[in-house]
Amino acid sequence: MLSQQILNGITLGATYALIALGYTMVYGIIQLINFAHGEIYMVGAFVGVLMVTVFQQGLLVSLGAAMLACMIMGVTIERIAYRPLRRSTRLAPLISAIGVSIFLQTLMTKIKGPQPVAFPPVINDALYKMGPVEISKVQIIILIVASLLMAALHFIVKHVKIGKAMRAASEDYDTAALMGINVNQVISFTFAIGSALAAAGGVLVGIYFNSVSPFMGVTAGLKAFCAAVLGGIGSIPGAMLGGLFLGVAETLGIAGGFDLYKDAIAFTLLIIVLLFRPTGLLGRPIQRKV
């Protein structure tokens, strides 16, 4: 029973991790909490539905299309709403992000209506028994896709030039710029990657819970953001760990009888972690600079 819950938790956590990565990468470089990120995830899910229903495509093509669409969207949002504000006060881009978020939410409500849409079945609901646990085909696919994407991200960040530039910019933005790294390009790239991962998360969650709605990005976005902070914001492995940790904690919490307080679990964990380890599980401690 416990192992079943943990498996369910890991599946949920993998989707949180996919969204959390976008928050953490963007924060790492430009110290912006991109509150529109949850909406990108939501749009991703809708693009997935569109591909499956209107264009009659299978899972992989739909997933790819959603990722590509959101990549473009993420980069565009950064260009229009955040880049002009890079040298202004900390709050300005935050407010701008909220504006984008409201815009996308209402736009989607206008197009698709406020009611949740069912995700058409692209995967059969086969169940496999593995010892004491049952795993559905959907869960297997979520775990595989999420692992592959995270492995790809890891490879990019460690071995590809632009990925290395990304790490450099997140380490020290100004020095990276002085060293000839085109930071604008790096930031665009970061938004592209983060948005693509969120879109994948959106499609997978849509399939998992068989529901997509214009408001799905709000709670999921906030929780994924919690996951990013839990793991240590700015840290890529931290976001993965934080996502999984949060997914498992939430599933166990529900199983343990706290289902009414489900949405508070993430935030309670968040506050506890912040109090005892303000920079998260894998974050670096802050040294006071005088």
């Binding site: 709050l91 407010i95 906030l222 508070a264 912040l274 109090l275 920079t279």
Partner: protein, 299 residues
């Protein structure tokens, strides 16, 4: 006095103006925390809801006089402000914001599951005691208090913390107690605002106090100009009235609202009246040169 108002304004406008006043009180509270003291709060709506539920329950269950119920709501919110502030105000910048955001969501879920608050069904039948006169009175009192703070020893220490925490500490400001005091006053005002809201709308639901509401307040103060009292008044007025004026585009108004927020930030990232102090507007001194061409607009 309410009868005088109703001679000139129809019920709808009175309702809108009362609401504006209520939001203004909450916004001035957040301005003290974020605009003046520089402590980021993403959980302001939680304190509104604490004040709203406290005062509503006192009115409904114990039939306590309106003014006392509102005051109790404010005090309860302020108390929670101190309880949250004590451990979290040592966190810096964004981390404080994140912690308050988490607190806001927890409060919402707790109210959703308590029986005394009516849970998801909400709390209905609250007496409509928040008249425009009453609200106006509180608004004037609040603005007066905030203006008095601007040039006081306490007020200066708040700004010093915003400007440079380490220097403020080195100059002898006890930053922990000062921040907590600012947080307590700001959340007290949020509680007052929430209590008045409950006694105007007559119905409370936890979903009205989600993080979107917290952000709405943040937008009020940032749009007008952080830390500036006329800025807060202008920002709150524009944003409370804008959806009303945008009614002609009906379904698209929230979309336009979102776009306007982005546009406003790009055009004036420091807000419409960024850096304008009420007391200095009348002091006829050379104010400053930090790019506030809209200064004249406030006169």
């Amino acid at each position: 006095m309410d009868s005088i108002f109703s001679m000139f304004l129809n019920d709808y406008y009175i309702q809108v103006l009362t609401m504006l006043g209520i939001y203004l009180i909450g916004a001035l509270g957040l301005n003290l925390i974020t605009g003046v003291t520089g402590q980021l709060s993403f959980g302001h709506a939680a304190f509104l809801s604490i004040g709203a539920y406290t005062s509503a329950i006192l009115s409904l269950k114990l039939h306590i006089p309106f003014a006392l119920a509102i005051l109790a709501g404010g005090l309860m919110a302020g108390l929670w402000g101190v309880l949250l502030g004590y451990p979290t105000l040592r966190l810096t910048g964004d981390y404080l914001g994140i912690a308050t955001l988490g607190f806001g969501e927890i409060v919402r879920v707790v109210f959703l599951n308590m029986s005394i608050t009516g849970g998801a069904l909400g709390l209905a039948g609250i007496p409509r005691s928040a008249t425009l006169t009453a609200v106006l009175f509180v608004v004037i009192l609040t603005v007066w208090a905030m203006v008095r703070l601007e040039n006081s020893r306490f007020g200066r220490s708040l700004v010093a913390i915003r400007e440079d925490e380490i220097a403020a500490e080195a100059m002898g400001v006890n930053i922990t107690t000062t921040k907590i005091a600012a947080f307590a006053i700001g959340t007290f005002l949020a509680g007052i605002s929430g209590g008045l809201y409950a006694h105007l709308i007559q119905y409370l639901n936890p979903s009205d106090f989600g993080f979107i509401k917290s952000f709405e307040f943040l937008t009020f103060i940032v749009l007008g100009g952080l830390g500036s009292i006329p800025g807060v008044i202008l920002g709150t007025s524009v944003l409370t009235l804008a959806p009303e004026f945008l009614r002609f585009i009906a379904d698209y108004r929230m979309m336009v609202y979102g776009l306007l927020m982005v546009l406003m930030m790009i055009v004036r990232p420091r807000g419409l009246l960024g850096g304008v102090q009420l007391s200095r507007l009348f002091a006829k001194k050379k104010v400053q040169q930090t790019g506030t061409s809209a200064c004249g607009g406030a006169n």
